[in-house]
């Protein structure tokens, strides 16, 4: 439990930093003084400066905005589209189920990162397209989890009773089926939040995500790669921030699973 509380506090800290980035960051993230380029950490710039003399700490702070934005929007896409497909497939069964789930299997037949890269290559590299691509890869996972919950509930007495009492299908789904899907969906959402943040960082690292000069952790690590021998802090600072953030998310997701899913205890 203490680890869960600690990770929640860390995540709140990240959230606040992202929300108030302009007041928290000591300098402007995209404007630097070229004469102060590649300064080591400590001194005037606490985490040093990058190759354009921009304050690294401020860029890491502004990078948290991209991470949180991507995590939230991608999970929202996966959850709304996948959840809807999962409910429809699970509740109606038959051909509807077969067609939806075989399409989901097809999406799952590609390695995750490759699918993202392929979608971005068609749409073009940008933050918005990275979000769309990552969101699409989440759809089958949410569809599967929601479908399995719905199938488990479909034959249960209280759901049948709702139907027998004259509740419409829509009402039965919304009032009696969906609330039971909340716990497993929260667990999956927490874990995919972290995975999606990594996916965006990876895309940006490969040059297919957030474009300069916007500060994003993945692209900052990529730029730092060229200065790795002389100024490793360029890659280390954003990389550690990213790792810390995802670590807190995964720890929280694990703790939630232990609480919400008694079987694994």
């Amino acid at each position: 439990m203490p680890t869960a509380i600690a990770s929640t506090l860390i995540l709140i800290a990240f959230l606040m930093t992202a929300a108030f980035a302009p007041s928290v960051a000591p300098m402007h993230p995209n404007q630097g003084n070229i004469r102060d380029r590649l300064q080591a950490p400590g001194g005037e710039y606490r985490l040093g400066t990058d190759q354009q003399g921009r304050d690294l700490l401020s860029r890491v702070i502004f990078g948290s905005r991209v991470a949180l934005l991507v995590g939230a929007t991608t999970v929202l896409i996966g959850l709304s589209v996948g959840g809807l497909l999962g409910v429809v497939a699970g509740y109606f069964g038959g051909w509807t189920d077969t067609i939806i789930m075989r399409t989901m299997d097809l999406l799952l037949a590609f390695p995750y990162i490759l699918l993202v890269v392929a979608i971005v290559s068609i749409l073009g590299p940008s933050l918005q397209n990275a979000i769309i691509a990552i969101g699409i890869t989440n759809v089958p996972h949410f569809a599967r989890i929601v479908r399995s919950v719905v199938i488990g509930l479909r034959e249960r007495e209280f759901v049948m009773a709702a139907g027998a009492l004259g509740a419409s299908q829509l009402r039965t789904i919304a009032r009696h089926v969906m609330p039971n899907a909340i716990a497993p969906v929260i667990i999956v959402a927490t874990l995919y939040f972290g995975r999606n943040v990594i996916a965006e960082a990876t895309l940006s690292f490969l040059g297919l995500g957030v474009q300069p000069p916007t500060a994003a952790w993945g692209s900052m690590v990529a730029v730092g790669r060229e200065y790795l021998r002389s100024s490793p802090h360029l890659s280390l600072a954003p990389g550690i921030a990213l790792m810390f953030f995802v670590y807190a998310l995964n720890t929280l997701g694990d703790a939630l699973r232990d609480v919400l899913d008694p079987k694994t205890q």
Partner: protein, 306 residues
Amino acid sequence: MGTYVVKRVLQIIPVLIGITFLAFLVFYFGPGDPVLMILGEHASPELIERERTRLGLDQPMLVQYARFLGNLAQGDLGISYRSREPVTSVIAPALRATVILAIVTMLFTALIGIPTGILAATNRGGVVDQVTMSVTMVGVSAPAFFVGILLLLVFSYQLRWFPASGMRDWNSVVLPALTIALHFGAMLARMTRSAMLEVLGEDYIRTAKSKGLARRVVEYKHALRNAALPVVTLLGLQAGHVLGGAVVAETIFAWPGLGRLLLNGIIWRDAPLVQAGVIIIAFMFSVVTFFVDIVYSWLNPTIRYG
């Protein structure tokens, strides 16, 4: 068992058709006009028209797809725009490099993950367990590209133990393989631990213990065997992922594999190359998943009747 295998093989067919169709769509709707890519920007309109007819690009979409499937069946994946060579001869060496990387990676993964998981499970709640759980959580959370950068910095630039890039010596494979294996190994360790714990709580383990069998015998002979199911499944899925998606590790260490080739193909807008790569990777992934399912049903007979 036989009917299950047949059923499972038949399930692959629609997936393969879907994959080839998706790959075809990448080519059909993807950026760049193939005729201009072949002839160059300044070709005359008549020449462009003739080339278009020759390639069958003036035909309806489904006809083009049928033609594409026909070529595919004969092992013809088209000509790469960039190198002007048959795509198959561009992809073959990359496929070889990726398979080497995948074998070494999965070896590392199993060596890291399984013993760590067993160690944690048999010391449940103890210091060893808590430390391994925290460390593996770091491994699960660390993005592959950052792990790669750290390995490059420490073991190549600082210690000079391993080369930073390429595929020249035997030890070039170590760092790219480790980049993936640290992440996969951490996942596998957690999976092994929870699988072991689940089995160790079963009645037959209590029986084995209560009839006086040595702890080691119970843990390794009775428990480990039954915990193997999810562990084998995860190993198989991970193997599928390295075979197809090692883009990051291959890019950082300039390993001339399939993932890097495909990424470059995307950047160069080399549609035939991307198309062929997507098909090969998805095909390998399906085959690996198929074998995982077969092993799974062999270890757990109840699946076959599901």
